[in-house]
């Protein structure tokens, strides 16, 4: 490279650096200023909307009057305010709020946004319908259930869950077995919000699930929802051949204090795979069933460290019966069982004895 060309390059770089630096500084100042203006305007909108909104929700103002008072306010902060408000109200008040939201035309904008080509616009709109019931044909939400981004699929599912019709619930249930662990937590929460209307279709879906992944997730869902109507599904899953399904079923059964549950768990405590045994021990502890003390004490001699730990913790949760067993084992001949029992009993070390 000749000195002249280096010089030219340096000049170009210097100019670019200066320009970029200036742009960065302008952007920093601009972003901060815009944020400040936005905060001010939000505060102003909040202040001006406070009375008409409260009056409308209390029934002192009718829809038309509230709309007339709110319409002149800036739309973006007003929409945000109404969406935030949706988290604070329930029942009839929420329905009134939804009416107002739609009357102000925000619902139409969100519906349009659901069809946007930009995923984050769709996501924002779908999240709105997790708070306000979607009105109209469900197809834009149904399409989002197939989106490559899980966040969008879940947001659409929540929106469909709010709609709550059998058709919408059926669509939500298509996600069973198709989510990550994170999505599963969200799905449980969505089904929990739907409540009773979801139980029948969910039971059918879980009974008919062919894919082991769907059954495993189904077991988790049943364990989280804890509706007795789902217990027969778990009893059926307890006969499954898939270790993952069995492990999760064992976990779920720990949430069902039904007379039939401990026997199933005690059977799973003898399963050849240790994750199933460990989970069964944990669930027996959760159920605190004294009749299982004998089986749990036997599990203290399990070759797996995790099974021994979970069995010991479970025994401790049984109260006096379990602790008595643990104490006996802690002085027993089996070194590993004794160590685990002492660990879980939190036996103090007596240094003076040594």
């Amino acid at each position: 490279m000749s000195p002249e060309s280096i010089q030219t390059l340096l000049w170009a770089m210097l100019l670019s650096v200066t320009g970029l630096l200036a742009a960065n500084l302008i952007l920093i100042v601009g972003v901060r200023t815009a944020r400040g203006i936005h905060e001010l305007s939000t505060r102003r909108v909040k202040r001006r909307a406070a009375w008409p909104l409260a009056a409308f929700l209390d029934g002192e103002l009718d829809l038309e009057a509230a709309r007339a008072r709110l319409e002149p306010l800036r739309r973006a902060p007003l929409a945000t305010l109404l969406r935030e408000h949706a988290l604070l109200v329930a029942g009839e008040t929420r329905e009134r709020l939804e009416d107002l939201y739609h009357a102000l035309g925000f619902g139409d904008e969100d519906r349009r946004d659901l069809r946007s080509r930009r995923w984050h616009v769709q996501l924002r709109a779908a999240r709105v319908y997790g708070r306000f019931t979607f009105r109209g044909a469900l197809d834009p939400l149904e399409r989002l259930l197939e989106h490559e981004r899980e966040s969008l699929r879940l947001a659409a599912a929540r929106a469909l869950g709010r709609v709550g019709t059998p058709e919408a619930v059926a669509r939500v249930l298509t996600l069973v077995g198709r989510t990550s662990a994170f999505g599963l937590i969200e799905l449980v929460s969505i089904l929990g919000e739907i409540g009773e209307p979801a139980l029948g279709p969910l039971r059918t879906v879980l009974f008919e699930a062919r894919d082991p992944r769907a059954r495993a997730d189904g077991a988790e869902i049943a364990g989280q929802i804890r509706a007795p109507a789902l217990l027969p599904v778990l009893f059926a899953y307890a006969e499954d051949e898939d270790v993952e399904v069995l492990t999760r079923t064992a976990r779920a059964l720990g949430h069902f204090p039904d007379p039939g549950t401990p026997a199933v768990l005690r059977r799973l405590l003898r399963h050849p795979d240790w994750p199933v045994r460990a989970q069964a021990a944990k669930s027996l502890g959760r159920l605190a069933d004294p009749a299982s003390a004998e089986d749990l004490a036997r599990a203290l001699r399990d070759p797996s460290w995790w099974v021994r730990l979970d069995a010991a913790v479970a025994l401790r949760r049984l109260g006096a019966v379990g602790e008595g067993r643990l104490r006996r084992v802690s002085h027993g001949a089996d070194r590993y069982a004794a160590e685990m029992a002492r660990r879980v009993l939190r036996v103090p070390v007596d240094r003076s004895a040594a």
């Binding site: 000195p3 650096v17 960065n24 972003v31 901060r32 990550s180 002492r342 939190r346 103090p348």
Partner: protein, 477 residues
Amino acid sequence: MNGLVEVGIALLVAFNHAVFAYFLLLHGSYGVLLLRSFFAVRAHLREWSAQGEVDARLMASDLVLPISIIAPAYNEERTVVESVRALLALEYPAFEVILVNDGSKDATLARLLEAFDMYEIFQAVKQDLRSQEIRGVYVSRTHENLVVVDKVNGGKADALNAGINVATSPLVCAIDADTLVEPDALLRIVRPFLLEPERVVAAGGTIRIVNGCRVERGRIVGIGLARSPVAVFQVVEYLRAFLFGRISFNVLGGHLIISGAFGLFRKDALVKVGGYATDTVGEDMEIVTRLHRWHRERGIDYAVEFVPDPIGWTEAPESLQVLGRQRDRWQRGLLDTLVRHRRMLFNPRYGAVGMLTMPFFTFVEALSPLVELAGLAVFAGSLAVGAVDAAFAAMFLLVAFGLGVLLSVSSLLLEELSFHRYPRWRQVARLLAYAALENFGYRQLVAWWRVRGTINYLRGKKQWGRMERIGFGTARR
């Protein structure tokens, strides 16, 4: 004689050309990384815009994976109780805190035993990983989920290995005892493990500087900047390192460092690779590199993630002497990891790590201080003997410093667009000023410490160097 002078001048010019080429490569790569970060941060923020509601649902669920927090402590009597209180106050549905007292010579253990009403219990520890002898395991009468492990001193890595052995959760969170983790940080850092439980083996969060912030009962209640210029320079450095360095490598799939101050790992993955290496001072980088290597060599699909919004606040050294020792150690740790895993360099078998990250860390991170200082010295020499024109030299220096400032200012812009943690105009103005000032002396000093670290590494020095802790008790200026 004249001929010799001419050859010397020609060599100087050639060296200057090489430095210039390196300089272009360096800043070109920084530019690409920066651009990637902007898009990655934007996508991340859009995806998680409703994080508050998600956090609430995670808190209410018992499907989240339990976490064992492991905090090694060595001579931390001044801060340890407050640090443990902060850890116990974290928002997460299922976690235990394992504080490993690594043979402290001060009253670290006594303070803990007293503050949390602890007593020693019998516990046979499962020896998944080798560590120095455990002298005792203590549990608390007031906090069921607190365990203190007292062991013979073996260094931070050894303490972490001992903690992993005691941990009973599938995920372990390695944390420095002097790091204040934001209350919702665990809920956020666990996300990758919930999104891809089979793949993700490790995830790191962002580290920021606590100096100057107001801390009450182990929580940050007011974000500020320290009076000490040394601390503020580090704020700018950390913003640059975390907001664009780690995010962009994460996008490329070759994230190589999870800060020792705050990282979450799958316990089984750590055990499989043999735990933390005890014979290095860069155990945090080494373990991540080993995780990459182990999985790549076996053809196992995996991921190491960086999540920008869980934040740990750490204390930065305010004296040049302590900072110098820290940077010296970081450089030795970096070189040690690069040398141990040199076969990964430019090896396509290791994917993005071998082809992008390792070369970047070798030729940019490890070499840049050497090139920078040598370049400056030769440049000054060239100027003195007239091998370089003064106007050209001035322009080159201007461009070099301008690019340095641009990089830091862009990180500040990124911070402003994304997390916006410094609310006052004055704070941003100070950060901008320091972003410019760091190029005049501070940067060269850091380069020198790193060169010294390189020399010490070549001489086989493996000490950590002493750190001085002030404590979080009050607002620190």
